[in-house]
């Protein structure tokens, strides 16, 4: 497909990082546009009038929004190499289920564990432990959720491999640790050791500095701010 591809994202966002990773795995060239979320560009608002959020993928001038929907679009459009989703319908349904679970439940529980205090934090941490256990079991001793290669579930779990680790350090708690979740921690190592993954992630030190500096402000807000 010869049409121009552009990605509107932001440096610290796990959601735009997912799309970057998918495009790189497929070998698609694209223009990587980083938005300043405090000053959203007119173009971004034009392409995503309903939610006004990143990431937005522009393919031949046509926008696709919502990171997971973009991942499916990328897999269907550039279907030659590195399948992101399984081909078998049942396996696909399972992968989509876990992706939805990560987005709907896991991210929020981990984020809230790091940003709340007292009884609320205790509850979110309990919830997080339950979810992490489910993910630990789902890996079934495989290198990746996708089996031998990085797939859509791995890409969606990027938050766990980097952002959750940084946030728990900033918050001074230990949720994701090798003692409790050895297979998951092994997955984190495998995931982060991939060159393509490294290229699509922000630097850990920069992310730590970003969240640490904004600790008071971000942690006081309701929604994650990337």
């Amino acid at each position: 497909m010869g049409e121009e591809v552009k990605l509107f994202g932001s440096y610290a966002s796990p959601f735009s990082s997912r799309v970057e990773l998918a495009l790189k795995l497929k070998g698609v060239s694209f223009e990587n546009i980083k938005e300043d979320l405090a000053n959203k560009s007119a173009l971004l608002v034009q392409y995503n009038p309903v939610h006004k959020k990143i990431p937005v993928l522009l393919h031949g001038g046509r926008p696709v929004i919502e990171s997971l929907i973009i991942l499916e679009y990328i897999d269907e459009t550039w279907d030659g190499n590195h399948a992101i989703l399984p081909k078998d319908p049942f396996e696909r349904a399972l992968a989509c289920f876990w992706v939805k679970f990560i987005d709907d439940k896991v991210l929020r529980a981990l984020w809230m564990s790091c940003r709340s205090e007292g009884e609320m934090q205790k509850n979110f941490m309990e919830q997080s432990k339950e979810y992490l256990e489910l993910l630990e079991n789902e890996l079934k001793g495989n290198k990746f959720f996708g089996g031998d290669a990085i797939g859509i579930v791995d890409i969606s779990a990027n938050f766990i491999a980097l952002w959750a680790i940084v946030l728990q350090e900033v918050a001074g708690i230990s949720l994701i640790n090798e003692e409790k979740y050895p297979i998951l921690c092994n997955w984190i190592e495998e995931f982060l050791s991939s060159e393509v993954v490294k290229e699509s992630l922000p630097e850990k030190e920069k992310l730590f500095a970003y969240f640490h500096a904004k600790k008071e402000v971000i942690f006081a807000n309701k929604a994650p701010a990337y």
């Binding site: 499916e72 679009y73 049942f90 696909r92 349904a93």
Partner: protein, 222 residues
């Protein structure tokens, strides 16, 4: 225990999410066994089939379970691909359909619930939001026969089960969908001409009684 062969659906009669799956199965002409679930005393079968969420609908095929209504519908579309395609063929159109289905999932049921659970100012705010949501959907529909264009498809079936709840929502929150979103009401009538939809959707009066039951249960004034 031997694996049960064939297609089984674990569901609850009034669930709009379960109805999405039933409409999809009907459109595809798939034979299946319907198993009504008790949502207060959940069966072992349900708990084993959906251990993560413990919710309906769950579709089982030869004993293997799939949960989450839109995921189930996409699975049905892929497996029984020889008849009545639900998702469009083209990736951009598919992405658009998925986006709006996701929008419906995140907004409609939750906002609708606030319409009967809340009173006073909070209910008024929920009503404004509900109408806004449907005005956006109306905009997306435009002047087309269905969200899928000329043919009934994924997005139509994602939304249509909630139409059976309009009467209950309108009565409790005092507004008229016909006045606020006439194109949506017209679209709903066209959907109801399809047997898969008319045979699946709950009678609005029965939905109203069900919501009344929920209101009593939650101690909401009625």
């Amino acid at each position: 225990m031997a694996r049960e062969k064939g297609v089984v659906l674990l569901d609850f009669w009034v669930s709009p999410f379960g109805q999405r799956v039933r409409i999809a199965l009907a459109e595809k002409g798939v034979d299946y066994e319907y198993k009504e679930q008790d949502l207060i005393n959940k069966s072992e079968h349900l708990l084993k089939s959906n251990p993560v969420y413990k919710k309906i609908p769950v579709l089982l095929r030869d004993g293997k379970p799939i949960s989450e209504s839109l995921i189930i519908v996409q699975y049905i579309d892929e497996v029984w691909s020889n008849k009545a395609p639900l998702l469009p063929a083209e990736p951009l159109a598919r992405a658009n359909a998925r986006f709006w289905a996701d929008f419906i999932d995140k907004k409609v049921y939750e906002c609708g619930t606030r319409l009967w659970k809340l009173v006073g100012e909070e209910q008024e705010a929920a009503k404004k939001e509900f109408i806004e949501i449907f005005k956006l959907l109306q905009g997306e529909l435009g002047d087309r026969k269905f969200f899928g264009g000329e043919t009934f498809g994924f997005l139509d079936l994602a939304l249509v089960p909630f139409v059976a709840w309009f009467y209950a929502y309108e009565t409790f929150a005092k507004f008229s969908m016909d006045e606020e979103c006439p194109k949506i009401v017209a679209w709903a009538k066209r959907c109801m001409e399809r047997e898969s939809v008319s045979k699946t959707l709950s009678d609005p009066n029965k939905v109203y009684e069900f919501v009344l039951f929920l209101k009593k249960k939650f101690g909401v004034e009625y």
